[in-house]
Amino acid sequence: MKQPTTNPAIDKVNRGLRRRYRAERRFRICGATAIITALCFLFLLFFSIVANGYKAFQKTYIQIDVFFDPAEFANENLATANFPGLVKTSMSSLFPEVNSRGDKKELFYLVSPGASFQLMQLVKNNPNLIGQQQSVWVAANDDVDMLLKGHIDRTRPETERRVSDKQLAWLDALAADGKIKKTFNTTFFTSGDSREPELAGIWGATCGSFYTLLITLSLSFPIGVAAAVYLEEFAPKNRWTDIIEVNINNLAAVPSIVYGLLGLAVFINFFGMPRSTPVVGGLVLTLMTLPIIIIASRASLKSVPPSIREAALGIGASKMQMVAHHVLPLALPGMLTGTIIGMAHALGETAPLLMVGMVAFIVDIPHGFTDPATVLPVQIYLWSDSPERAFVEKTSAAIMVLLIFLFLMNAAAVYLRKRFEIKW
């Protein structure tokens, strides 16, 4: 490999060669190690979330035979009928031997408190049911759900688990009769928050996130792009624009809670907008994402080659025409990418929303910008702090949904960039 040559300079080069390659190898190993470490952490994170949460997409149901006793529906108003009583009667009929008051309470505990609402809904949709016998699958209580998913260890002493020996026996009997099933948890995707884990869902929070982000997008994109275009193309370069530029860069690094405080002071206290609503949340997140969008938009405007500007000006286009016809279309993919990344950032934000009251228990699905609402990350935060064990898997499942949304948004950013990128 290293034959002595007559050229002394090449000899020197050859002597140093091994050291140079070694340095390169070392650097590449360092880089690869960093990547592998990062991937390991990422995998660990995903694994723990998925392992914790995948069971939340299933839900346990118990089949009961309900007799819609006409005597209970004497009153005109359906809501006042004794639906919990119907559920209890049905449960008792499954185990007629249960008599004592304490035992009955334990027995009724097996089904979710939501079962009576489910019956109410059935009757509302079909009043003909009154007077009929109907077999209905109702949600099981969260503790039953946890037990059947293996989160409660039945070998533990009775006092140490939330399901008693009697309840275990009843459940085993029901299972033997085929009256227990686990199916896909549609509730999780269609309902709002609830204090009963088996009734809680993320649809309310998803709608809240949607309305909030819609406000954020419709305000921050036009304002951000307009600001960037003005600063980059029209504003004179002087001390004032320098100050503005420095400030925008600083704002991008301000802790998001500060925007929450600002939003509280300005939008709620000064303008009197309603607390806990997507309007206010969206405005606060607009403030937060604006610097990100402005910076990304300016960078993408800067990357438009000056030759295109000269071409347009040289042909007699006005500055506005140059910007609107040539520079903006070329900068748009970069602007969109920046905007989507800003939106993804806003989607995952809780701290500023705390200040404007969006960290709240909200059951009803929001139907507009001024309905009280919460957002996905806040929902995750609230569930993670709930005492019920069943919320642990719900939390992880909600994180999975949030991650999927973030992933989709980032994929959209990549797609838009590829789709509209113009090469020359």
Partner: protein, 294 residues
């Protein structure tokens, strides 16, 4: 249209005598004074430039340049890198307005109209003085849209048929029509370098300018494409005044009738092209064209 002046035509070069007098002075003295050698003025000019100075901030880039541009001529501007020839070219359609910190003084008139006058709008001015740049810079749009863009923004056409006509005519004048007529909807950026540059020329002439400024239009092209552009320039001379900045003395010799030599912001010598190349009167011009520096 007046035909371009011939070298021997004393009527055009009105102050031919002055040229003789200047040539008697020693080149060394001229070097210090740097007054323009040769006669920069013509009768019935398209454009007149008088005592033009350009500053970039505190730095003076063009120093007291006075020159006329005749109708239907190709005038080449040559000189070593950094001599200010491109800067001067960009004064003629006020492209320097877009450069931060650039200031132009002096008097530049297009057909007697002061282009720096407050009442003169830069937009129609640039429509009258087209420009072709060093690097081919078609818009990342279709070939058709590239040519149609100028007429569209200036409102030169009433309908699609007129526009089609202009596009076709411009592409024909630029000698590109036969090559692209089948693919007008394909992106202009997909053409070869030489085709792109001809597309840029078609784009410039689509708005019916009176002058075309070319800033080293062939520096990014291979010899065949260069030859094609040079032929085109010769054809275009019949309708337009063309100012071409070039690094290549051969090109200047091939395409231009007159040549102006710039050196460090000064206009050193102007004259009929064959005279300047065969018999340069200024020492600096001679040094440059004989390849002693540049």
């Amino acid at each position: 249209m007046e035909s371009l002046v011939e070298t021997a035509n004393p009527g055009v070069l009105s102050a031919a005598g002055k040229e003789e007098i200047l040539s008697e002075a020693t080149s060394k003295a001229l070097h210090q004074v740097r007054e323009t050698v040769g006669n920069p003025f013509v009768d019935n000019p398209r454009m007149t430039c008088r005592e033009v100075n350009v500053y970039y901030g505190d730095k003076k880039a063009i120093n007291n340049v006075s020159i006329d541009i005749a109708r239907n001529e190709v005038i080449a501007m040559i000189g070593p890198s950094g001599c200010g020839k491109s800067t001067f070219l960009r004064c003629l359609n006020r492209m320097n307005d877009t450069v931060e910190g650039c200031r132009v003084t002096g008097d530049i008139r297009l057909d007697g109209m002061d282009i720096h006058d407050r009442n003169v709008d830069v937009v129609p001015l640039r429509a009258r003085i087209g420009m072709v740049f060093q690097k081919p810079n078609p818009f990342p749009k279709s070939i058709y849209d590239n040519v149609a863009y100028g007429p569209k923004i200036h409102g030169l056409v009433q309908n699609k048929a007129e526009l089609d006509e202009i596009v076709e005519g411009s592409l024909k004048k630029a000698g590109l029509w036969e090559e692209v007529r089948e693919r007008l909807n394909q992106p202009g950026t997909g053409l070869s370098g030489g085709q792109q540059q001809r597309l840029c020329i078609a784009r410039a002439i689509a708005v019916s300018p009176e002058m075309i400024l070319m800033d080293e239009p062939c520096s990014a092209l291979d010899p065949i494409a260069t030859a094609r552009i040079e032929e085109l320039i010769a054809e275009l001379r019949e309708q337009y005044s063309i100012v071409i900045v070039t690094h290549s003395m051969q090109q200047a010799a091939r395409v231009s009738q007159r040549t102006a030599y710039f050196h460090l912001g000064d206009l050193i010598e102007v004259g009929m092209t064959d005279r300047v190349f065969t018999n340069p009167r200024h020492q600096l011009t001679e040094d440059y064209i004989t390849g002693r520096f540049g």
